[in-house]
């Protein structure tokens, strides 16, 4: 029996190295096919008439003119009048769908449909629970320790306001699918843009009232998900219904405005925080009143205080239900919010004590619990990389001129335990190898990681292995969310590879006159450990299989020590603010991250670079801007829903904590953690530069100037 563990550092030929992603050549040449790129014979184009009101009831729908138009092949009413479905709770909610021979015709058909609405009252803003009336739902107060005593013991109390607005996922590939019925309308083939190939099957079958075994989901590549694509949406099911009616495949993808309005949002969070402190920097108590919205769901409290387990706490959260479209998981759900509020409040506390926040964090590091030493080491590493002790100054850059420079820091955590994942590894008698798994590659490098693991385990080069994913007919693997993928897929593929190797050893042993346990797979050979000259090539060894290929099922969870969970990271930001214009520019950002054993250093680093850039986006630019009166999103485009460009991010430095003390923990997910801290680190850097806290993200010129004005007024 194989021992299920990762090879020792000196035995890793591919694992942990810098390896280019195997689908890179397809992506850089336009040959990678995304679901949005799927064109099928006779395919129709679906479009949806959407609610122009944030809250309304559909009174009547007249589709007759549209149905009479040549080229219109099917119409489907989503919000049927006089049913519960007729009440629509956000702008962009689906009313009625059409499928036509081409997009222009489908657009014309939409315009020909007449819908009468009864407009109902709406709420779309979330910045003040007092104005939300009955839509504000306060939760019970939450206490830990003795907050009254904690504040009584405090020598200094520091109060502040912090928050961040609703933002969207803005996946570049919009949500949608091409849906087609095969086998005389019996089976559905769904080309869905999804983070959950295996998990979407049942979600498609249920509303269509067919057996899940009659649904197949296929996806080669996905153009971004970030937590918003865990299953089919209403419009995907609608596409399947239109396809059924028309007897043709239907392509239905969101236009950009709808994508930003309805296809996912990260809940907002705002808080008033009070912290009790000793003059030596010891934190004695935490109090927070927080609120936020996740749309109709309201939304729960972010983790407060974040990471630092302050002994005495009093917390109360109010959920605001409003008409903005529903929230979805957004990369590290809850954590960026909890982190921004907590790390900003702690940095303000340090400033009030005239302490360097680096020292303040180190002083209280034991409050972070079991990963305290990791955080401490990472703070030191990040501090070295950004020159913290050389460049940090007390609050307010006193140098002349309008450009003020500042440093800020933040720490974060995440779980990252591998998800359930099955795979089949098939070795053919000719030595060719295929791994099949119902997973998906979000651009994180899943395919590449699988290839590395199988090849490294079998002692073969990368191109000896074929990786097949993105099909629900392959063994079931979990959805890619919460940084669970790499832990799951690495463990199951390693187990499959080790098991397969055992069987190859057993077949090859007689020819080598050795026991199976004395064999090893190295450099394309199966050889005797004690006498490497006794060897078979990989192909020779596999030929011992005879006529029958070998297929091994790999599973996760399973035996052995291949993964764990719980990581820590530290980030530091170096920014400049023009205090005459309020414009914030990134100079540099450092991320020091722990994630256990790294499979591919190149794509792992890319994950962190990407997280930093996403962090710059939400720290400086992103906001789903809602108009109180009309209930509409005012910036459902990429012109005013702003994302950082290539010149907006400064210099980024990524350091992965690897090697002894880290690798032994096995593989842990990496996607979420580095996106947690940027908002706090950048906000703290701005406060350090200009001498005053800008309470709410994004740190736009209007907010920066307002904070500076308030500071002037206060003095």
């Amino acid at each position: 029996m194989a021992e299920y563990k990762w090879p020792d550092a000196d035995k890793r030929n591919l694992i942990g190295k810098r390896i280019s992603r195997i689908d890179g050549p397809f992506k850089v040449s336009g040959r990678a096919k995304y679901s949005f790129d799927v064109n099928r014979p006779g395919m129709l184009f679906g479009k949806i008439v959407r609610s122009p009101h944030a809250h309304c009831k559909v009174k009547s729908i007249d589709t007759s003119a549209a149905e009479a138009m040549p080229g219109v092949k099917a119409v489907h009413i989503v919000a049927q009048p006089d049913t519960p479905a007729a009440e629509l709770k956000w702008v962009g909610a689906s009313v009625v769908a059409v499928a036509a021979v081409d997009e222009p015709t489908a657009e014309d058909a939409m315009r020909a449909i007449k819908v009468e609405y009864e407009v109902l009252p709406h709420l779309v803003v979330d910045t003040d629970p007092k104005t939300a009336g009955a839509n504000a739902v306060p939760a019970n107060e939450n206490k830990a320790g003795d907050p009254d005593k904690g504040f009584a013991d405090a020598e200094v109390t520091v109060e502040g306001d912090y928050g961040l607005p609703v933002i969207t996922h803005c996946c570049l590939e919009p949500h949608g699918s091409v849906m087609e019925w095969e086998d005389d309308g019996k089976n559905v083939l769904a080309h869905l843009s999804t983070q959950a190939v295996s998990g979407s099957v049942a979600q498609i079958a249920r509303p269509l009232e067919i057996a899940a075994t009659n649904v197949r989901v296929q996806q080669d590549h996905i153009g971004g998900g970030f937590g918003s694509k865990f299953g089919p949406d209403e419009w995907d099911i609608t596409a399947a219904r239109l396809s059924k009616k028309a007897g043709k495949p239907v392509k239905m993808f969101n236009e950009r405005d709808n994508e930003l309005m309805v296809a996912g949002a990260r809940p907002s969070a705002y808080a008033k925080v009070k912290i009790g402190l000793k003059k030596d920097g010891t934190i004695t108590a935490w109090e927070s009143q927080s609120w936020g919205t996740g749309g109709q769901g309201g939304g729960g409290s972010p983790p407060l205080p974040y990471i630092f387990n302050i002994p005495n706490q009093r917390k109360q959260h109010t959920a605001i239900m409003n008409n903005i479209g529903s929230a979805r998981a957004w990369r590290a759900p809850g954590h960026p919010q909890g982190c921004l509020i907590t790390m900003s409040a702690l940095e303000d506390a340090a400033a009030a004590l005239n302490m360097d926040p680096y020292d303040f964090f180190q002083k209280n590091i034991e409050m972070t619990g079991q990963r305290a030493q990791v955080y401490s080491d990472e703070l030191k590493m990040a501090g070295d990389l950004i020159g913290w002790k050389k460049n940090w100054h007390p609050r307010g850059d006193k140098s002349a001129g309008s450009i003020k420079r500042g440093l800020g820091l933040s720490i974060h955590t995440w779980g990252g335990q591998g998800h359930p994942s099955d795979c089949d590894l098939t070795i053919q008698p000719d030595g060719s190898i295929e791994l099949k798994m119902g997973t998906q590659d979000l651009g994180t490098g899943t395919r590449t990681a699988l290839n590395i693991i199988v090849a490294d385990t079998l002692g073969l080069p990368m191109d000896a292995v074929k990786i097949s994913i993105g099909d629900s007919r392959y063994p079931t693997s979990g959805g890619s969310g919460g940084s669970t993928t790499i832990g799951g897929i690495s463990a199951s593929s390693r187990r499959a590879s080790l098991d397969a190797l055992d069987q190859i050893f057993a077949k090859a042993a007689p020819a080598l006159d050795a026991k199976p346990e004395d064999l090893e797979a190295v450099s394309g050979t199966i050889r005797v450990k004690s006498n490497p000259s006794k060897s078979l090539t990989w192909a020779q060894a596999c030929s011992k299989l005879g006529a029958t290929p070998l297929t091994v099922r790999g599973k996760n969870p399973g035996p052995g020590n291949l993964g764990s969970q719980g990581v820590g990271g530290v980030q530091m930001a170096d920014i400049s603010v023009d205090i005459e214009t309020g414009v914030v520019r990134m100079n540099k950002m450092v991320s020091v991250q722990d994630c256990g054993l790294i499979i591919d250093l190149k794509t792992a680093e890319s994950q962190v670079y990407g997280a930093l850039i996403m962090g710059v986006c939400y720290a400086l630019y992103e906001e789903k801007i809602m108009d109180a009166k009309t209930g509409r999103m005012l910036n459902p485009n990429m012109e005013f829903y702003k994302l950082a460009g290539i010149a907006d991010i400064g210099e980024l430095v990524v350091h992965m904590m690897t090697g002894k003390g880290y690798d032994e923990r096995g593989v842990i997910g990496l996607g979420e953690p580095p996106v947690v801290s940027p908002g706090a680190a950048i906000s703290n850097a701005v406060a350090n530069a200009i001498g005053v806290r800008v309470p709410y993200l994004p740190l736009t010129p209007d907010r920066v100037l307002a904070a500076l004005d308030q500071q002037k007024g206060g003095k």
Binding site: R21, P25, Y34, P104, E173, I613, L643, A647
Partner: protein
């Protein structure tokens, strides 16, 4: 083609005939091959559409014909009618660069270019950068520097970088940043893109 009375404007309900009266143009020649000729100030001018018209496009050196209405963008004609899907439709409003193509040597947003405007021009998409099975050195540099994650912005970015390097063969790091502002990425691949362009500018030598 359809006869004149059937060519009703779907938005306004005005027939073309009444519109022509308004604008004072006389109809001189019946409809032929997707266009009709009208006399304007004594000159013959072809008027296309609003129905489908045959449009000849030269895409990556290959002449192709599509039949689409004048309102169809170059991007949609390629993606929906010719199955050339490398360029992506993302913002669809000339902001994000995912649809970038090189038209007559210059990078443009194909989502904001009509297909009918592309006639007679040389159109290069990401699919046209490979030489046979061989990747362009810039494409290789994108792979070497991992300048892609989900890859949805990548085709547009590669094309924009190609056009940038054609114009600036020896760019400074600052020029690279200032010269590629017309493309947005959501996964955050800009560090890789910067390094890829620098590598390709140096003649494709790998640096990582």
């Amino acid at each position: 083609m359809q006869d004149d009375d059937k060519l009703k404007d779907k938005g306004s309900g005005l027939s073309r005939r009444s519109f022509l009266k308004v604008s004072g143009i006389s109809l001189s020649v019946p409809l032929v091959m997707g266009y009709r000729v009208v006399k304007v100030r004594g000159a013959d001018v072809k008027v296309f559409g609003p129905g489908k018209v045959p449009i000849k496009l030269t895409i990556n050196g290959k002449a192709q014909t599509v039949e689409v209405e004048p309102r169809v963008t170059l991007l949609d004609a390629l993606r929906n009618d010719l199955d050339v899907t490398g360029a992506k439709r993302v913002c669809d409003r000339g902001t994000c660069g995912a649809c970038t193509m090189i038209v007559d040597g210059k990078p443009v947003y194909s989502c904001t270019t009509l297909a009918i405007e592309g006639q007679g021009k040389s159109i290069t998409t990401v699919e046209g950068l490979m030489q046979g099975d061989k990747l362009h050195p810039l494409q290789q540099a994108f792979i070497d520097n991992d300048a892609q994650q989900c890859g949805f912005c990548t085709p547009g970015f590669v094309v924009a970088c190609k056009a940038f390097l054609d114009k600036n063969p020896n760019p400074t790091p600052e020029q690279i940043q200032r010269g590629l502002g017309g493309n947005l990425c959501r996964c955050g691949t800009y560090m890789g893109v910067r390094a890829a362009v620098a590598q390709a500018a140096k003649g494709g030598r790998r640096n990582g």
